[in-house]
Amino acid sequence: MTRDSQEPKKINSYKKTGLIMLAAALFSAVLGLLTMLLLGGRTDDIQTGITDILSFIQRIMLPALLIITAVTIVLGERSIRRLRAIGEKIRETEDEECDRWEYEEEKTGAVGVMSNILSQVLCVLILSAGYSVKYINDGNHKNVLASCLVFLGCHAYNSFCQIRYIKTVQAIHPGQKGDPSSRKFRQQWLDSCDEAQKELIYQSAYKTYCAINTWIPILLVFTMLGHLFFDTGIMAIVVVAVIWIVVTGSYLHSCVSMKGTKLRE
């Protein structure tokens, strides 16, 4: 093999980025034009539709929150029970078989945490529909109050479920330390991890950072289009922009301070 053929093909980064930006601009223009053509003359209809959906959610707010809470409790209990059963298997088995059970533990934990988060997000979204002074002043304060109580109950269950999940994992792996009620829990947990576990956490954290940086510009475009055509307000754009700044700022601050610490050592 010759030296030339081994060298990777040179890529003009400026040209490639320029082309990507041009393609994105064209795509945005087409998307904007299509939205204008399809929905431009029907913004009133769409706003009426959104209002109808909101009033529907307001009507079903309490039963919906009750159903979500019930499903959350069933899923949470099932997840914890399964995790405990897997813990028993982990204690009983060795080496390769134990690897398989630990993979199952990771999967069960991930499903449990995800259902926990989904439940919280759904509860917030549903409660937000009725969480307005206008709706409360229209004589719906009892419905909102009852919904708030169910929401708080669901939130409390989720919080205690997370603590139980952490304590179950700590019972399976006694090396994992940290008090889940402490504000320093994440740091305590990280400190108790060994080098391979830390690498896994760091890799996952970096992938999360990359995913956020992919999704935030997309969300910004959607929130801007929403504001452009449906007058959804600037708040959504501000929130997404603030999240972007906070995430990037935290990442850069961490990089700089870590390098600074290493220099001072």
């Binding site: 690897d99 080098e195 391979a196």
Partner: protein, 70 residues
Amino acid sequence: MALLNYLKEYRSRMGINQTELGKLAGVSRQTISLIERGDYSPSVTLALKLAKICQVTVEDIFEYKEDEES
């Protein structure tokens, strides 16, 4: 993977399982498993610790093999 290792063989010779070796080295069983499978390259400190536990040198456990293509 350029880094080969014979940790499993040495562990078997010692007659201990991954959990016990992990305890001796101060790491989790998962880490020992990852190293044995070649999915994780340990730090120099851990490699030295493992070699000391197995009473061999690091080179006995870990072997760097050049890729044929490079």
